[in-house]
């Protein structure tokens, strides 16, 4: 019915997700005066045209400051916010593709669906393909549910296990996987009886229990003490090995990204400014913004107290309502300021294209683009 083997799939065999020119714009309220005067509606351009591809079992990092649109990107992929424009192709398992088709979704060759086209009523089966773990484990778990109830809910919603015994068995197994042992003891605990690290383990268990292909992890360690961050990062690695999940890891900390990610995309005001292999990006950053982000990261070296940090960046992130023209970073860019004469025709005027400088290393900056 829906599979036409002859047609070529949009996604390569080892790809699970492809985002093309994704835009998420939130309209602002217009005052009645503005409406009467016929002023156009203004938008918060949270995500303003990004493209990337996820390979199977890859950890892809979105790095940027608050307000750069990294969380909105994650939410758009979860279909938690409306997608304004663009395509998000995702490969779904066959049985879920059938469910989606019944609910009126177009299935593209190779069991691929465009998330932007999935009707609202078909979002439920989609949750078995893409899951999310939130930043704050103190807020993301229902305080009135026990751990068992928290983990049982997705099983019931998705009809994964129909009998109680079966569900308890699955829950016990997943608790063992996330190392909350003995499971019988943790099942009857409430979130307030758990530490931050243990809560985040429950949050991961809840996401993984439906066996998703992709998990969006939105700053999963930034609310935790440094001493237990590594514990959660290690758990993520184990889950990847065991269940073959692909992660979209959202963080503001490049040092953390270096440990967990295969590729890093640096985001600024809704656009990617640089994408590369994680190590290469940190060892050889090209974009002035990436350089500033790297220079800002504190390290446990007592020599650092003896000198100022050399931050080649000015001011703070502007609002996503009034995005600067040209390169969105130019008002904060020290390189632009120093070479204003030479660059004044480019940076403040034209948006730089994302170009491939060396293999798989992309940067959007006029310093590197051929003019």
């Amino acid at each position: 019915m829906m599979e036409k083997v002859s047609e070529k799939s949009i996604l390569a065999p080892d790809e699970v997700l492809k985002v093309e020119n994704l835009k998420v714009w939130f309209p602002l309220k217009r005052g009645i005066g503005e409406a009467l005067r016929g002023k156009p509606r203004r938008y918060v351009r949270a995500v303003d045209g990004i493209s990337f591809t996820l390979k199977e079992k890859e950890t892809f990092c979105l790095v940027g400051e608050s307000g750069c649109g990294k969380t909105t990107t994650g939410k758009a992929i979860m279909r938690l916010v409306p997608i304004t424009d663009g395509k998000v192709y995702v490969k779904v398992p066959k049985e879920i593709a059938e469910d989606l088709w019944v609910l009126g979704t177009d299935i593209l060759p190779g069991n691929v669906v465009d998330l932007a086209q999935v009707p609202d009523r078909a979002i439920k089966p989609l949750r078995r393909v893409i899951q999310m773990v939130y930043q704050d484990p103190y807020a993301s778990l229902n305080p009135r549910f026990t751990v068992r109830q928290i983990l049982e809910e997705p099983l019931m919603i998705h009809g994964i296990a129909l009998s109680r015994e079966e569900r308890l068995e699955i829950i016990a197994k997943i608790l063992e996987t996330v190392k909350l042992v003995p499971p019988e003891e943790f099942m009857e605990r409430y979130p307030h009886q758990l530490s931050g690290g243990q809560r985040q383990r429950v949050a991961f268990a809840r996401a993984i229990i439906v066996n998703p292909k992709i998990t969006v992890a939105d700053e999963p360690v930034s609310m935790l003490d440094v001493s237990i961050r590594a514990e959660i990062l290690e758990l993520m690695e184990e889950l990847k090995e065991r269940f073959g999940v692909t992660y979209i890891f959202i963080t503001h900390d490049l040092a953390v990204a270096r440990y967990i990610c295969d590729r890093i995309a640096v985001m600024y005001l809704g656009k990617f400014v640089e994408i590369a292999d994680a190590r290469r990006l940190i060892e050889n950053p090209l974009h002035p913004y990436t350089k500033a982000l790297i220079a800002a990261i504190p390290e446990p070296d007592p020599e650092n107290r003896k000198h100022y940090r050399n931050l080649r960046i000015k001011g703070e992130v502007p609002s996503a309502v009034n995005i600067p023209p040209g390169c969105r970073f130019h008002p904060r860019c020290v390189d632009f300021e120093e070479r204003r004469k030479e660059l004044s025709e480019y940076c403040p005027v034209k948006e730089p294209p994302l170009i491939e400088i060396e293999k798989d290393h992309y940067v959007a900056c006029w310093l590197y683009a051929k003019k």
Binding site: S227, A255, A296, P298, R305, Y308, E316
Partner: protein, 320 residues
């Protein structure tokens, strides 16, 4: 004579479910112009130390015993009115955790900075206005911000305002309790640069509190590592970072993801911090310590000087 000497400070919280020994016998000194960094996980008692030094432990907390000697004067026994008149703002001020919420949303920035100047510093309104401008410039803000309200500022700007307030009366000692925790890395680095500038130009002494040893390394000359309401390691920054002695400090340092060098497997500290209503016997770290041996779960380790000015409370170093 050091600027601040804290001797055997004990601050307990008297809750309905028992007495929480949040700070249990902590001693340290801060010299003039020096910055002491206090590190520890959440629940280690580091914020309680900060509030105790201001002699305002949050209720139901009480300073049970100990001395806080500021400039040769013991302030623990001082009356509240005297503390307000002579000590707070003038001698010690504080930059609070989550400064974004420390500002009153219905007053302008200028009004809020001027308030301590008028109430505590005896400035007239005119003088205060001038001083506010100076202060805003000092922390790298445009003086016109004085007319704005907190909601009009970004997180980093609000943090700078709170720092300006803390410095308004030029106190010799400033306590900064996690001043950058809610901020982005770039803004955090900008604020740390500002704190360094103030430290060097104004010669202020600081107590800098954070859970992140990497941030503390930016300013601290001396480090105190707290665990379960006690200081487990205390010494000059150069020593503590390069030759950490206590197993807890070592693990804490190894758990920080690094930006450079080989990607080693990160360490973490299994288990949870102790319940301070009922702390474990002996060394409070022993249930999580990979090196524990015979005396650890029975007797509390003394604070031993392993080299000059470098102290550690661990049985591995105690001669018995």
């Amino acid at each position: 004579m050091p600027l601040l000497e804290v001797r055997n400070l004990k601050t307990y919280y008297y809750t309905l479910s028992g007495v929480v020994k949040a700070v249990d016998g902590v001693s340290f000194t801060v010299e003039r112009g020096e910055t002491l960094g206090i590190a520890g996980e959440s629940g280690s008692g580091k914020s309680t130390v900060a509030f105790s030094v201001m002699v305002m432990p949050p209720p139901p907390g009480r300073i049970v015993s100990g001395d806080i000697i500021l400039d040769g004067e013991n302030i623990v026994k001082m009356k509240e009115s005297e503390l307000r008149r002579k000590i707070r703002w003038k001698k010690i001020s504080m930059v609070f955790q989550g400064a974004m919420n420390a500002l009153n949303p219905v007053y302008t920035i200028g009004y809020q900075i001027a308030e301590p100047l008028i109430l505590h510093g005896g400035y007239t309104k005119k003088e205060a206005e001038e001083r506010v401008k100076e202060l805003l410039e000092m922390v790298g803000l445009d003086p016109t911000i004085a007319k704005r309200y907190p909601h009009e500022l970004s997180g980093g700007q609000k943090q700078r305002v709170v720092i300006a307030m803390a410095l308004a009366l030029e106190p010799p000692l400033v306590i900064a309790d996690e001043p950058t925790t809610a901020l982005d890395v770039v803004v955090q680095a900008q604020i740390m640069n500002l704190l360094k500038k103030l430290k060097w130009e104004k010669k202020i002494s600081m107590i800098f509190i954070s859970h992140d040893l990497a941030v503390i390394a930016e300013v601290a000359d001396k480090i105190a590592v707290m665990y379960g309401g006690k200081i487990v390691e205390y010494g000059p920054a150069d020593k503590v970072y390069t030759e950490p002695k206590h197993p807890y400090t070592r693990l804490l340092l190894k758990s920080i993801p690094r930006l450079r060098g080989p990607i080693e497997k990160l360490e973490y500290i299994p288990g949870v911090p102790p319940d301070l209503r009922n702390p474990p016997p002996g060394c409070r770290f022993h249930p999580r310590c990979p090196y524990r041996f015979d005396p650890c779960d029975k007797e509390e380790p003394p604070l031993i000087e392993v080299e000059k000015d470098h102290y550690v409370a661990c049985w591995l170093y105690a001669k018995r």
